[in-house]
Symmetry: C2
Subunit: 349 residues, 2 copies
DNA sequence: CTCTCCTCCTTAATCAATTAAGACCTTAAT
DNA sequence: ATTAAGGTCTTAATTGATTAAGGAGGAGAG
């Protein structure tokens, strides 16, 4: 059975294709009788309705928002921060009645043309490392683009938080409590799978702009408090997982003198650091203070963290794209908030 | 500045449109020199690459999978079971290099044509109530469709678990422990927002087929154990939330005689029932046994539950659609597993 | 009777590509 | 010299719709 198109129906009834099209899209242009007959024949022939692709081509709109995320989709759907963001974005999409097309990044060697072939009206790019090839592909499409969290793309709107300030707030909190032996555990500095100590060059050359900025905030606050940043040990892990956090925790807690406070750039990592502390029978916050970031998995663990309005950020990104306001390179920074819970306290004197 | 198409470039260079197309899609059909010149001019004119919609129309494939979920997207991204499923589906999509188009259901009165207009190659329908209009719209598209969990759509492949058997296993567990005063808290029977006692008619006429089947399993097991189902109180809530579970818990625990075991058809609900038990200072599992369903939020709470292979189910659904095997109405039932944790014990004698 | 206005439908341009088949020219083999 | 084979580009059909503009016919007004 060949494909049924508008033309098939038109031929069958001896009317023009336009007439059949009107039967579907503009009932007022047709007499009721004919319209009914057309719909009847359409049904009889098993017509699937006006082809959305053809429609989309003619009308010049896709009815979908493209979403690009740095990690594999399987990871994204497990990351609390990403999920909060997706929720917000999905809400905006839902309100506008458009779909959300989640695109896989070409992973490994298999090259795929998902970005090039994505039938969308706009792109939302989330948390891509500097220089990631997918970003170039997105920009080549010349569609509206909004970037969330990272990287900074000149000429395109940006939504996120004031990362340096938020990082500084996290650091200032423990410094204000009196800590002087501060250490840092970070994920997402580079894309090369490295796990280990991060020297100054690696820190400052981090390809994830938000993480780089966050770290800059740590440093600024520490220096304002009179610490020498070179005395602040930084451990870097490749994946944002609890297990990786634990590893970083052990590395940092083995140091002599042992840090009394550890800053982490994600909550998941912080949970791992807490695991490490538990492994070593260290009392938190008595012997060790830990600060997370994002308030994504922090509540039950009683973790002090920086809360980001993930859902609002997602909604804002969506609305920016859907309102057509993405032409102006607006820069929307959302407020963050230091949430103090039971994982931080003054150091033992 | 007008839109740049293949034709624009062709005109500029005095070659045919086909030639330009080949420059992008089939380099071997062209001399290197010309190809280079074409790409140069394309760049110069700001050509965004072959229009994906036109491409899609001509090639007859969309490169995307449509996903339809019963709830609002904001809810879906917060539901642990849905997320596990999404993860699996996304993994399959990622492997095949196709996108995942998440479609909003027409919510409330605003009618939107997202299903009709979705540029996709196939649909995955998850957990829709019987008779939901969106399902009809999906079927009208005459594309491959796979249904997950519910409803049962004759003629289309189905992926899920053996719900009656799983429900029976949950019930048989507490019955085997010796419980006789069993009660049930359920969500997702109907779509009408009702919260309160569910009589036999409401139970059996439930529009969510999986939930209906699950409940049938409870009943069968109870009757096999010699209980009269009419003696088993059933409380129904409208939303799958912890708060709703707590409400159901209070309603059930106020009964005299008080149930010694409560079966719930989701983990989230079970957590709420545990909250209610805590409110009443009831010892779990000493004075009350609670069983969840899905193993989605159960681990930390020490909840006995039925584990469903959510991620595998998602992957299977995706692969079914992507392999083109969705033509046969295959019915794939995945194994479930009773996970016994600390929320169930024999009743106090 | 003529003019105007509606209603209902058709004509034809348009959206932006892909690709089989053919034309034309050069080179190599017989 | 003839034929075959390649390489490079063009022609034209095709994908499946939307919609402005126009035409035919009937109804009502003057």
């Amino acid at each position: 059975m060949a494909r049924v198109t508008l033309q098939t129906i038109a031929d069958r009834l001896g009317v023009s294709r336009a007439t059949v099209s009107y039967a579907f899209s503009r009932p007022d242009q047709l007499s009721d009788g004919l319209r009914r007959r057309i719909l009847e024949v359409a049904d009889e022939l098993g017509y699937a309705g006006p082809n959305p692709t053809a429609r989309s081509l003619r009308l010049g709109r896709a009815g979908a928002l493209g979403l690009l995320f740095s990690e594999t989709l399987a990871y994204a759907f497990a990351d609390p921060y990403a999920l909060g963001f997706f929720r917000g974005l999905a809400t905006a999409a839902e309100e506008a009645g458009v779909g959300l097309l989640i695109l896989p990044l070409p992973h490994g060697d298999r090259r795929s043309d998902t970005v090039r072939d994505a039938v969308v009206d706009a792109f939302c790019v989330v948390s891509l490392p500097d220089g990631h090839p997918a970003l170039a592909e997105v920009l080549a499409r010349k569609l509206p683009v909004v970037v969330v969290d990272e990287p900074y793309v000149p000429g395109h709107p940006f939504v996120g938080i004031d990362e340096p300030a938020a990082g500084a707030a996290a650091a200032a909190h423990v410094l204000g409590l009196g800590h002087r032996r501060v250490a840092v555990a970070m994920v997402g500095l580079h894309d090369d799978g490295h796990t280990g100590w991060a020297d100054r060059a690696r820190q400052e050359g981090a390809v994830f702009a938000a993480m780089r900025a966050r770290r800059g905030g740590y440093q600024a606050a520490c220096e304002r408090a009179g610490l020498d940043w070179d005395d602040v040990p930084c451990y870097e892990v490749a994946r944002n997982s609890r297990e990786a956090g634990r590893k970083a925790g052990h590395a940092l807690l083995r140091l002599d003198p042992r840090p009394t406070a550890i800053l982490t750039n994600t909550d998941v990592l912080a949970l791992g650091v807490l695991d490490a502390a538990a492994d070593l029978d260290l009392d938190v916050p008595g012997e060790l203070s830990v600060v997370g970031f994002s308030d994504s998995a922090a509540e039950e663990a009683g973790l002090t963290t920086i809360r980001q309005a993930k859902q609002e950020i997602g909604e804002a990104a969506g609305r920016l794209l859907l309102s057509g306001a993405a032409a102006r390179p607006e820069r929307r920074l959302f407020p963050y908030e230091l949430i103090v819970r039971a994982s931080t306290a003054p150091p033992a004197s």
